[in-house]
Each structure stands twice: as structure tokens, then as C-alpha cells.
């Protein structure tokens, strides 16, 4: 069995850990295990390495995201080797693989934190539109057409307000 990291030397260190209910296995050679700090259990974060490697395998298995990033020429093989992406656009190119990977490493797959000021305006607008739309859906479901009409007008008003504010 070859080492999962260098793919050169024979793996002598075998680790297994449960991550999010899935069993993740990793096989390392002696020098890679030292480099990753596996020989020192106190300073070693299993999860980091497992997530990185396990995830890139998952990404490969998902299959549909093949080829290179049109923007920077980064390939999936490169990702598997380094655990890092080539450029910001890679996230759009390798969408599917990235998505399943994010699920296994983070609390959610949608960003809910800080945004640059220029984006904050868009976010407020998006949130408002989203909440109006769901209210509209509910009103339609309840066959409350009077309410629905009001909401539809409100939505078009918000939309026109926003397009004006971005043009100016």
C-alpha cells in the first residue's frame, strides 16, 4: 500500500477516524507521517488532514467536474496533490466536487458572515426580496389573492428601487 500523500513510499502508519459519521481512513509513510506531525498525538489535528484528503477523493469520485479551470488552468489532479485551489474562479468550475467537500468540513455550505460593503447592499436587497417572495408563496397557497397582489406590487417596487440605486 502506498502513502496517500507522497504516493511514493510504502505506507506504514494507518489511521482511522470518524468524521461526521463517516469512517475516514488514511495511510501514510513514515516521513509523511512525521511531516504531518502524526507521530505526536498532542500537536496533530487529524481532522484537517483527513478532511483535506478524504474530500479530494470524494471530489474525484463525483466525476462530473472534470477538466481544467478555464481561468487559471488548474486541474483536479493538482487539487488532489495540494488540497488547495488555483484561483477564485476554480470554485465555480469545480462546483459539484467543492460542494460535497464543504458539507463535510463546515457547519453549513452558505456564507452568513461579513461581506464587503458593496455586497452588503446586495445582500440586504436579496434578503428582503427572498422574504417577500416566500410571503407571496404562502399567500397564494392560502388563496389569499388580495394579499398576494399587494406583495407582488411590493416586490416590483423593491426591484425597481434597487435597479435605480445601482444605476446612480
Amino acid at each position: 500500500m502506498l502513502c496517500d500523500i507522497c504516493k511514493e513510499k510504502e505506507a506504514t502508519v494507518h489511521l482511522t477516524q470518524m468524521v461526521e459519521g463517516k469512517t475516514k481512513k488514511i495511510d501514510l509513510c513514515e516521513s509523511c507521517s512525521k511531516a504531518k506531525g502524526v507521530d505526536d498525538p498532542t500537536g496533530f489535528s487529524l481532522a484537517d488532514m483527513l478532511l483535506g484528503l478524504g474530500a479530494s477523493q470524494e471530489m474525484e469520485e463525483s466525476g462530473s467536474t472534470t477538466g481544467k479551470c478555464p481561468k487559471c488552468g488548474f486541474s483536479q489532479t493538482d487539487f488532489k496533490k495540494t488540497g488547495r485551489l488555483g484561483c477564485p474562479d476554480c470554485y465555480d468550475h469545480f462546483t459539484e466536487g467543492v460542494e460535497s467537500l464543504l458539507k463535510s468540513m463546515h457547519k453549513g455550505t452558505r456564507h452568513v458572515g461579513k461581506a464587503p460593503a458593496v455586497w452588503q447592499q446586495t445582500k440586504v436587497y436579496g434578503d428582503r426580496l427572498h422574504s417577500l417572495q416566500s410571503k407571496l408563496d404562502k399567500a397564494v397557497a392560502k388563496e389569499d389573492y388580495e394579499k398576494a397582489a399587494q406583495l407582488r406590487d411590493e416586490i416590483s417596487r423593491v426591484k425597481s428601487e434597487y435597479s435605480e440605486s445601482t444605476i446612480s
Binding site: Y91, A115, W119, T122
Partner: protein, 366 residues
């Protein structure tokens, strides 16, 4: 350039105080940011990295606290200089391995530091003494907001700030604190604590972060997840956990003194004995013994001495700092001798531990 003349003196760096300083050595918040249209540093060509570095550096230095900051390209630093910066926690080990096309900017008060072209285009950190993760977050948030008007960040509404490694995606935040936990180590509770903290999705690491050993009973606790949670939630959650760890450490120390005082005094006395009398000592042994010496100061066994003394000794006995005092590289054996000389002379002024009489010749219980 002599990096030592630029950085604060070790005694001043060690003298900075903050809340809960007895157990929490420092708090840090770092943000990862990238430019929208440039490949990440690990994939960009050298010429691109060099250009990007200059562009980012110039913009960083236009933001207020960085106007007359120290800045350097990594190629301008010697190996020893870089190691010194690692020992002060201003740059990562990974960054220390970089050359032209990467660099750093450090504010005058050393509270803000930006690594340029490390794994991401920007890794900015706020570093404060004691338990101040919330203040560190506020400081770096403010800096980041000021910087964002000059730089075009890679950001997407759904995924947040885009980072080279998906583990940092979203907020790009890593909140961490450096904790001194000799009580939990001596009472053999540390592994339980580490496991409990891991279960909460937080990482416990050694002195220099990822993949490093917990030398001198110093542990770094940090968040791992960066996506799907707001920055303030992450900061708050970590803060809560830190307060609990502080509680556990204090309890552990109390219980040790109650039940195993002799064992604790024995460790501290021996640590003092070796530190004050050895003629050759490794950096690893020094750190472990300084931890016990610090515990002795916390327990008032060395009246008149402050924890800052151990922190200073901790800094100046690390390999790069030690070699810098002699202006050049030294072999490991010579370093060990030099380190021992330094410790002996500094501890001349420190009296033997004033161990209280426990009133028993033998330890009660097991």
C-alpha cells in the same frame, strides 16, 4: 538590516499584559483574503506574485495603523531573521520558507501583522495579550474594512470570501488563544479536555499551530469551521470554551495543591534547580521547565517575580533569539551551553522556591 532592532525587545514583548493573563498568554484573530482576478499564491507564476506583493503591500500601508509600519520582502530576510519572526508568532513556518514575491507588514505596536502571499494573498492577524479574542476580532475587522475599499477581494455571495484552501472558505477567520495549562497536564486531565474541545468542532494544537508539539504546556485552541456561521458567533463560541478551560485549569491547580502539593512542589523545585544550575540545556527541556517555573510564580513560590520573567526567558532561549544574541549561527551543542549560561545568570537574582510547609512528611492518600 537587523531585525532585532526593529522588533520590540523581548522584555517589552513579554511585559504586555491582558485579562486572564495567568492562563491565557495571547489571543489572535486572523482573516484570509484574496484578490478577485489573480491566481492564489501557490499557483501564480513568480512574476505575478512579485507584482501582487507590491500592489497589496502598497495598499496595506495606506491604511492607518500601517502608515509607518515595518515591511519587508521575504527575500530580504536571512533564515535566522525569519525564524525569529516565527518565534514571535508574526509569521507562520510556511511563510518563513517563502522568498521573493512574498512578504509581510507589521504595525509599530506589533498588534497587527499582514502576511502577503502566504497560502492566500492576504493573511492578516490581530494579536493581543491575554484573553481578548473579541477585541482582536474588532481590530482586524476594522482593518479589513478599511483595506477592502482599496483592494478588489475575491468574494461570492453564496460562499463568502474565497480562499486557496476550502477549509478557510466563507469568513476566512481563525480565532485562537494560546493557553498555559500545567495544572491540567500534571493532573492528567488534559486529554479529556482536548477531546471535549475537539467534539465542539475546535482544534487544539501546539505552540506554533498546525502539526506542532505542545511544548511547555502551551496549547493553542482555535476554530476549524469557517463557513455557515458568522464571525461573531465563532468568536463568542470560542470565548465561552476558553472561559471554561480557564475554570478547569484553576480547579486542577487548586485540587493539586490540596491533594498532591508535594508532587507539585517537587516538580517546581526541580525545574528551578535545573534552570538555575545546568550547564547545557535543550530548547525543549527549557520550555517544559519554564512552564513549571511559571506555575511556581503563579502559586507565589517566587515572591517578587512576575510571569513576564518566564515569558521573556521563553522568548530569548528559543534557537533563533539565542543565536541572534551572538550574531550568527551556532551548532546545537553550543546553543545548549549558551542557553544554560543565560538561564543561570538570569536566575541568580531569583531565590529558591519558598515552598510552604505542608505539615506532613508523607503525602496523604494515593
Amino acid at each position: 538590516m537587523n531585525i532585532q532592532d526593529i522588533l520590540s525587545k523581548p522584555e517589552d514583548a513579554a511585559g504586555r499584559e491582558g485579562p486572564s493573563n495567568k492562563i491565557v498568554l495571547s489571543s489572535r484573530v486572523r482573516l484570509a483574503r484574496n484578490l478577485a482576478t489573480t491566481p492564489f499564491p501557490g499557483w501564480a507564476k513568480k512574476s505575478v506574485r512579485v507584482e501582487t506583493f507590491k500592489h497589496i503591500r502598497d495598499n496595506v500601508m495606506e491604511v492607518d495603523p500601517m502608515r509607518d509600519a515595518f515591511h519587508t520582502g521575504m527575500e530580504e530576510l536571512s533564515t535566522l531573521d525569519k525564524q525569529l519572526l516565527v518565534e514571535r508568532h508574526f509569521i507562520s513556518r510556511e511563510h518563513a520558507a517563502k522568498t521573493a514575491g512574498s512578504g509581510m507588514v507589521l504595525s509599530g505596536d506589533e498588534a497587527l501583522c499582514v502576511m502577503i502571499n502566504e497560502e492566500d494573498h492576504l493573511r492578516m492577524q490581530a494579536l493581543l495579550p491575554g484573553l481578548q479574542v473579541d477585541k482582536a476580532w474588532m481590530a482586524i475587522d476594522q482593518f479589513d474594512t478599511a483595506l477592502e475599499s482599496n483592494l478588489d477581494y475575491a468574494f461570492c455571495k453564496r460562499r463568502g470570501y474565497l480562499t486557496a484552501c476550502p477549509t478557510n472558505l466563507g469568513t476566512g477567520i481563525r480565532v485562537s488563544a494560546m493557553l498555559h495549562l500545567p495544572g491540567l497536564v500534571l493532573s492528567e486531565q488534559i486529554n479529556q479536555i482536548i477531546q471535549a474541545v475537539n467534539k465542539l468542532g475546535l482544534a487544539v494544537r501546539g505552540l506554533h499551530g498546525e502539526g506542532t508539539e505542545a511544548l511547555g504546556n502551551v496549547f493553542q485552541v482555535s476554530n476549524q469551521m469557517t463557513l455557515g456561521e458568522t464571525e461573531s458567533d465563532i468568536v463568542e463560541r470560542l470565548n465561552k470554551v476558553l472561559l471554561q478551560i480557564i475554570d478547569h485549569e484553576e480547579n486542577a491547580r487548586g485540587k493539586l495543591l490540596e491533594n498532591k502539593a508535594k508532587m507539585v512542589y517537587n516538580h517546581i523545585g526541580r525545574a528551578y534547580g535545573i534552570l538555575a544550575n545546568s550547564h547545557s540545556i535543550s530548547s525543549k527541556e527549557t520550555m517544559n521547565l519554564l512552564s513549571l517555573f511559571r506555575l511556581g510564580i503563579d502559586l507565589s513560590l517566587f515572591p517578587g517575580n512576575k510571569p513576564a520573567l518566564t515569558e521573556e526567558l521563553f522568548i530569548i532561549t528559543q534557537p533563533a533569539h539565542l543565536q541572534k544574541t551572538r550574531a550568527g549561527k551556532l551548532s546545537a551543542e553550543k546553543r545548549d551551553i549558551l542557553r544554560a549560561n543565560l538561564l543561570r545568570s538570569r536566575l541568580l537574582k531569583v531565590d529558591r522556591p519558598a515552598t510552604p510547609d505542608t505539615g506532613k512528611t508523607e503525602e496523604n492518600g494515593e
